[in-house]
Amino acid sequence: MSIDINCIAVIGKQNNPLYIKNYSSSHPDLKYHYIAHTAIDVIEERVLNNPKLTDAYLGLLYAMEDLAVYGFMTNTRVKIILVIAVTDNVVKDADIKAIFTKVHSAYVSHVCNPFHNLDQDFVASKRFSNAVDHIGQQNSRATIDV
């Protein structure tokens, strides 16, 4: 897979940040906070304007400079945002979807933990962050090898 993941962000149903992690060294963390924040607006607009759009995967939200932002929204209004570096390689939708599915299933496992507090602002679970970091690092490393 030749996707260079720069950042994975999970945003709760009240648009509260649940998890955000920077996997790149090219931009500061703040940049991704800003991108994730902007992405919420794009997601909301897209979902409101297309009531028939029932797929969780929302596709490319927008591209900014050398970054492409992809979005995913679950039935429970939890948003997952993926920021990847634009390279010359063709990015396949199926690959992006696979990454979202992985992050989503990590989130579901996390939520189903009976000791997890649903009203908690930020995901502090070690298992969840390990799972997401694994996805993020695995994919950003793949490009370095190529």
Binding site: K13, V47, P51, K52, L53, T54, D55, A56, M73, T74, N75, T76, R77, H104, S105, A106, V108, S109, H110, V111, C112, N113, P114, L118, R127, F128, N130, A131, V132, H134
Partner: protein, 190 residues
């Protein structure tokens, strides 16, 4: 309650690996249905037993059981809506409760769904699974009043499921004639 298929069994994420790639699908554990039946019985009974005075503490017992159910309902929909297309409106969500959630929990669908199209939904189940083996000597109102506490947990499950799908509501349940029961969902105006 029956979480018999492997995918449904790990609702509490119990069998995940350390690296976080939790077993959603393969490698899930199976739970004996009787165990869950006993757990449900004991859950309600323990709440009633630990109450100081069962009549005045009814509210407290209701609140505790309802909140337990609420939590379970939220987790359940999180897991079981993973592969579903997004819901378009409230009716869609209620239909999901009647069909999918009911099958997951009770292995059957709701028998009758009524609505006034103004935010009230009435779900009627003629053979509520948890009441199938319940009866009292006197029968009638006595058995239905004794069975009522057993409806508070499922009330919470429904409310939790709806809440997590973005519909805030009030759920009340009643039973008049034992294996049958009705749940009334009042959607809060947004």
């Amino acid at each position: 309650m029956s979480f018999l298929s492997p995918t449904t069994s790990s609702i509490f994420g119990g069998s995940g690996n350390e690296d976080g790639t939790s077993a959603t699908g393969h490698g899930g554990m199976l739970v004996n249905e009787s165990c869950l039946d006993f757990l449900m019985m004991e859950l309600v009974d323990a709440m009633c037993r630990t109450a100081i005075d069962e009549d005045t503490d009814r509210e407290v017992i209701f609140y505790k059981l309802e909140m337990l159910g609420y939590r379970v309902g939220q987790s359940l929909v999180e897991r079981f809506t993973v592969d579903r297309p997004r819901f378009t409106d409230t009716l869609d969500v209620v239909k999901f409760i009647c069909k999918d959630l009911w099958v997951i929990m009770f292995k059957k669908q709701v028998d009758n769904l009524k609505t006034n199209h103004r935010g009230v939904y009435v779900l009627q189940d003629n053979n509520f699974r948890w009441f199938m083996r319940m009866s009292t000597d006197i029968g009638g109102t006595d058995s239905s009043s004794k069975a009522t506490p057993y409806l508070w947990f499922p009330c919470g499950v429904i409310r939790g499921a709806l809440a997590n799908l973005g519909v805030s509501s009030v759920v009340m349940a009643e039973t008049s004639n034992l294996p049958q029961c009705t749940f009334q969902i009042k959607i809060a105006k947004s």
